[in-house]
């Protein structure tokens, strides 16, 4: 049975989404190769058509681009950026990022729901970055999201699955791919997110700030694959600290 990651009409083998913009462009190809990456995000604002240090010039043909709307503060600004991405040939998959807080860079869920609707109506495959809030995720699904991307911890913090319990609720309740985005600091944390049933993991800072960037991308690839296998295998029961009663409480039943 195929175990592809399905987003909108596209299918992917790899479940490791790589961020860009935090390591040198010259390294892009090598990092993508060693991570087995099929989807790479990029900030549309870093695209410099016909200009210098243009991120698009460094992305291998094989990779599917996932442009993000970083810099957008409103749904309308997100739409402007998405349309620019389309004009630039980045395709229709868009990671919606709407942020009105420059300190923590936390996403604005309410405005993001509005943006999902606007972008979906415009034909985009909308993938909203969000605070893991089940109600907001349902609203995003209803507005036409193709996947939802809850944060594990504040972006760039490398602090791991701080919001794990809330992401798990989304995994159980939302019939869309749940892609953990932001805050994953180590491969073991990515593995844990995949064991929980997340469809994919996106990492950027954790890879970009490693001493050996391509080697860290490879480590993430393996961890994400391991987590996925474990999820599919169905993790066994974990015994609690206290043992379980040897004579069952329901043992009195006679019929």
């Amino acid at each position: 049975m195929s175990d592809d990651l399905i987003i909108g009409k596209k299918r992917f083998r790899s479940k490791f989404i790589l961020g860009s913009g935090k390591f040198s462009l010259d390294m892009t190809r090598k990092v993508i190769e060693s991570g087995g990456v099929e989807i790479a995000t990029l900030a549309v604002r870093r695209v410099n058509p016909d200009g210098r240090e243009n991120v698009l010039d460094y992305m291998p043909e094989s990779v599917t681009l996932l442009p993000n709307t970083s810099g957008a503060r409103t749904a309308e600004e997100a739409l402007t950026i998405a349309r620019l991405a389309r004009e630039l040939g980045c395709g229709d998959m868009i990671k919606i990022e709407i942020i009105r807080d420059t300190r923590y860079l936390l996403p604005d869920n309410a405005e993001t729901v509005r943006a999902v609707r606007l972008l979906a109506e415009d034909g985009f495959t909308a993938m909203p970055y969000m605070m893991p809030d089940l109600t907001a995720a349902r609203d995003m699904a209803a507005a036409g999201a193709a996947a939802v991307m809850p944060l594990a911890a504040p972006i760039g913090s490398n602090r791991g699955l701080l919001t794990g319990d809330f992401i798990k609720m989304m995994v159980e309740e939302i019939d869309l791919p749940i892609i953990v985005d932001a805050g994953i600091g180590r491969p073991s944390q990515a593995c844990e997110a995949m064991e929980m049933g997340c469809a994919a993991v996106m990492a950027n800072t954790a890879v970009a700030t490693a001493s050996d960037v391509p080697a860290m991308a490879a480590a993430f690839r393996m961890a994400i694959e391991a987590g996925r296998k474990a999820y599919l295998a169905g993790p066994g029961r974990v015994l609690k600290d206290r043992g379980e009663a040897s004579s069952p409480l329901t043992g009195f039943l006679g019929e």
């Binding site: 390591f23 870093r46 200009g51 210098r52 760039g156």
Partner: protein, 388 residues
């Protein structure tokens, strides 16, 4: 609407907008309780070990007690910069459009009493200059003028911004403080960022140094960033011209707090700090309060640890060695191909004199190569206009 802080160097002039003064009161209050000499090694180590720094920790990093720990602070500053910005360094250049000035600031080359060659670019010259700058590949420009509402009025600034709109993505202004309605107008013309240096945050010293012109009004200048944000600007930059006052640590502390408190009030505002220190200029200003490279680095690193998400711009007043060193630790934006002369990007005009002397004359390509050589990623474009 009758607010007047006792620290005002002089009364507001007609048509100067009055805004709520709580931000300035909070910054001045914070500085009054800042005692650089009271910190100990333990305070510095505590600041170094915490994830989120408060004003007290920020003060510790600026204090003399932090000096023995500069290398450790640098390691942490670099790590935090990489986490927030990756290895990216944005490139831009300033364009000086006019050097006429109405003010009498004793330390400044543009002082109206100085006998320097004055000039102002015509609209055609602005077009030529900007076109030349754009041909270097830069997409981010900072428009500067001397502070003259007569020679560079708001319509003149609007002309410069509209011209820039045709050549650049990101447009900043470093001009005299304006009212929020004027900022809104210039924002609608295409400007998104505003830089205003408070110079010194000591109202008494400020009054001594700013002897004439609208700039004498301390609080009107102080509230410029707030009015800019009220006018719709996306980002604002802060700067204290270190060395104007007996203790640069106090000005650095206030400047850091100014950005910190403004962002708390307007959480969406993009904050950045500029890192100027006094350099020799044609005013023959004799400074006794010299700020060394080590001091400037200490300030820059303290800003980084206190405000991890804030941009930091390093001036062309500094030497290439220092600028390259500081972008490797905490600065996130660097100018290149700079000319501080009026008409310095073309041969359109008998050039007007500059405000200060440059210490880094490298062109865009040289700075780009230097950044790449250090394993950093030069960024030419980092902005999508919302009015596309």
């Amino acid at each position: 609407m009758s607010y007047r802080a006792p620290e005002d160097a002089c009364e507001y002039m007609p048509r100067m907008e009055v805004v709520d003064g709580s931000l300035m009161e909070s910054v001045l209050e914070a500085e009054r309780s800042f005692d650089p000499g009271a910190y100990t090694s333990a305070d510095v180590l505590r600041a170094l070990s915490s994830d989120r720094l408060g004003p007290y920790d920020f003060g510790a990093l600026l204090s003399p007690a932090a000096v023995p720990y500069l290398e450790r602070i640098a390691e942490k500053a670099r790590r935090i910069t990489r986490e927030h910005f990756g290895n990216s360094v944005c490139m831009f250049t300033p364009i000086y459009c006019s050097n006429y000035c109405d003010n009498r600031c004793v330390y400044c080359g543009f002082n109206r009493d100085n006998k320097i060659k004055r000039a102002r670019l015509t609209p055609e010259e602005v077009e030529v200059e900007m076109s030349n700058i754009a041909s270097t590949g830069l997409t981010d420009i900072l428009i500067l003028t001397g502070e003259s509402r007569i020679h560079s009025d708001v319509e003149y600034l609007a002309m410069c911004v509209r011209t820039a709109r045709r050549h650049f993505e990101s447009i900043g202004l470093e001009v005299y403080p304006l009212n929020s309605g004027e900022y809104r107008y210039l924002h609608e013309c295409g400007a998104d960022y505003v830089t205003v240096f408070q110079e010194t945050y000591d109202p008494a010293r400020y009054e001594q140094l700013h002897r004439g012109g609208a700039k004498r009004i301390f609080s009107y200048r102080f509230n410029a960033q707030e009015r800019a944000v009220m006018g719709g600007m996306r980002g604002v930059a802060f700067g204290a011209l270190l060395g104007l006052r007996d203790d640069w640590r106090r000005d650095a502390f206030s400047c850091g707090m100014h950005g910190y408190l403004l962002q708390r009030k307007y959480p969406w505002a993009e904050i950045s700090y500029s890192l100027p220190r006094l350099r020799p200029c044609s005013s023959h200003w004799e400074d006794d309060n010299a700020v060394g490279e080590k001091d400037l680095l200490q300030v820059a690193m303290a800003y980084r640890l206190f405000m991890p998400f804030a941009g930091e711009t390093i001036s062309t007043r500094e030497l290439p060695r220092f600028r390259d060193g500081i972008v490797n630790i905490c600065a996130t934006k660097i100018s290149a191909g700079t000319s501080v002369r009026i008409g310095g990007h073309s041969d359109v005009k008998d050039q007007g004199d500059g405000q200060f002397d440059l210490s880094d004359t490298r062109d865009v390509e040289e700075v780009r190569t230097a950044l790449r050589g250090m394993g950093l990623q030069p960024v030419f474009n980092d902005y999508v206009r919302s009015d596309r």
